[in-house]
Amino acid sequence: MNRNELKIYRQCWFIRAFEGAIAAEAAAGNVPGLVHLSTGSEVADALIGHHIDPNRDKVTGSHRSHGLALACGVEPLDVAKEILGKAGGLSDGLGGTQHLIAPESGFLTSNGIVGAQVPIAAGAALSAKSRSGGGIGVAVFGDGAANQGAVLETMNMAVALKLPMLFVLYNNGMAQSTKAETASGGNYRDRARSFGLPVWSADSVDFAACSKAVEHSVGHARLKGPAFVEVAVSRDHGHYYGDEKADQVFGANDALLAFEKWLLEQGVERSAIVAAADAGKAHAHAIVTEAVAAPNAPATLLSGWSSGESAVND
């Protein structure tokens, strides 16, 4: 089991370092627009990636999905290139940071519209159901998104249609500058339960509990029907990288530090832990460095899409 957990730990550091490197590129003016970093949700991201089966499951994510896509097995170099607007990115730079699309992997798509990815995951669940191969659709969304009609409707519909679907709420307590407790009535677990969804929850600072919650909720969705899991995560860097106004949530409750502590408690050698972290970081830096060096997406990319008849004749 240590091998698995160390792999996940390495993955977490890979994501954190990847986001750090993207932040540095953003600071240097090398990212076309604003980026919403996954720093703070690495453990949750990595656990989802670990517990899904990329061969038959499909995950959709929010505007803040770099880490989730990486964890679900999307080719990291293509992710980095897409974020940087490079040729060879997932969509050759047409989509960008909020539109990571990789149907060949376990990650289907992220989304620029809060909540819109959730019904799309229901569609992946419907496809999986029609194939009868035990696959599931997984929608990852934030506490802010949990107030969107798209998300609430889909919870009800998933129950009504018995879709093999998992709702994953990343609760970082914050939507842009709006605190979850001022924007949301009740709590999210009761909300999901009221639609008839079985509910799991965990704080990502408790690695073991979190892993179990994800594993069990994935299993339920796969075998019994729609399920819901709430994971407490944190958010670093404001809402987007460079957002001065937003509160800084990151800090005390660092899930990665807690994960490290837990590994030590499990008897994993410190040297192995450090090595895993370093390997993740090194890999991330290599990837982002390679992506930075890649050629920019060319203007000619548009020409294939802009002829009047393209919509019909492709």
């Binding site: 499909k58 959709t60 997932l90 969509s91 050759d92 047409l94 989509g95 539109h99 699309i101 149907p103 060949e104 289907l108 798509t109 989304n111 620029g112 519209i113 819109a116 959730v118 019904p119 799309i120 995951a121 229901a122 569609g123 992946a124 669940a125 419907l126 496809s127 999986a128 159901k129 029609s130 194939r131 659709g137 009609g149 798209a150 409707e153 889909t154 009800n156 519909m157 009504a160 249609l161 990319l301 294939g304 899409w305 009047g308 008849e309 919509a311 019909v312 492709d314």
Partner: protein
């Protein structure tokens, strides 16, 4: 080729039966479409034939089920969604505007999106302002969507067949006033290509471009104009987006006169798009200013007299053409 008389709704129903029989990836999604066969009867019998796993009754949650259809189309299914009225696209518009329309582009072609949203359009039955709109022009202004407006049973069948075969998302608008219309349909239900106009009636003096129910108003007007010595052609684009601009331009080059009759928006709708296309593409051959006949710039009124007055009709078409001929 054997032909048979079919209603507009019957022809659509036949295509859906055929498509579901031939392709296990086709699924139907919507409100009251399974047990109830759809509020206009178009999905009649599908649930009995193909089961409730493929003909899916949904809650009144258009965003959720249109979004589900988008996701399903991304992952191997070919969903046909029925939205009772195009007016209801308001409650699921993000999934149309941002998700369905943009998915192929945003993936640089990696995603296919074989999604058909069938819905209704059209005033004339006292349904009021939220059950009578004709939003084809609005959809057509969104890059990434195909927009279809058939006017006959055979076209309805053939265009639906092509729509179901398309990898781009299609908004398929059925005029409520046409469901009972009968016409000959080839028993094999041959496809009609998307993006190709049909000359419903030829004529030498003026080209009338009309869609959906307006085709029939235009044809009635053309017959009356004939007896007044004016030879009017009626050209039906059938696919509003992509518009068969080449056929329209070619015909107007012959007549030199264009009248667009459209039940959609009088400002920045299909009519303006056609006029703009023609004037940019064949300015020198125009003998008179192109004109349009659209409803007034208001929602659809409920009471019969205002509603009838709101809708363009053959009288107004005759009048407009006669006026143009004086130019």
């Amino acid at each position: 080729m054997t032909e048979q008389m079919m209603t507009f709704s019957g022809a659509l129903n036949a295509v859906l039966h055929q498509a579901m029989r031939q392709d296990g990836a086709v699924v139907c999604i919507g409100e009251d479409i399974a047990q109830n066969g759809g509020v206009f009867g178009v999905t009649h019998g599908l649930c009995d034939a193909f089961g409730s796993d493929r003909v899916i009754d949904t809650p009144i949650s258009e965003t959720a089920f249109v979004g589900m259809a988008v996701g399903a189309a991304m992952t191997g299914l070919k969903p046909m969604v029925e939205l009772m009225f195009c007016d209801f696209t308001g409650v699921c518009f993000d999934q149309i505007l941002n998700q369905a329309a943009k998915a192929r582009f945003l993936s640089n072609g990696k995603l296919k999106l074989p999604l058909v949203i069938r819905t209704t359009m059209g005033a004339g039955d006292g349904s009021g302002a939220m059950h009578s709109q004709s939003l084809h022009g609005l959809f057509a202004s969104i890059p990434g969507l195909i927009v279809v407006c058939p006017s006959s049973p055979a076209d309805a069948a053939g265009l639906l067949k092509s729509s179901l075969a398309s990898d781009d998302p299609v908004i398929f608008l059925e005029n409520k006033q046409l469901y009972e219309l009968e016409g000959l349909v080839d028993a094999a239900l041959p496809p009609v290509p998307l993006g190709s106009a049909k000359l419903a009636k030829d004529g030498a003096d003026v080209t009338i471009v009309a869609t959906s129910a307006m085709v029939h108003e235009a044809l009635a007007a053309a017959t009356r104009l004939e007896s007044a010595g004016v030879s009017a052609a009626v050209l039906d684009p059938r696919t509003v987006k992509p518009l068969d601009e080449a056929s329209i331009l070619e015909h107007v080059r012959g007549t030199g006169r264009l009248l667009v009759v459209d039940e959609g928006a009088p400002f920045a709708g299909l009519a303006d798009a056609v006029i703009s296309s023609v004037v940019r593409g064949s300015f020198p051959s125009l003998k008179a200013a192109p004109q349009k006949l659209c409803p007034p710039d208001t929602p659809v009124p409920y009471a019969p007299a205002p509603e009838a007055c709101w809708l363009p009709g053959s009288d107004a078409i005759v009048e407009a053409v006669v006026l143009m001929m004086e130019d």
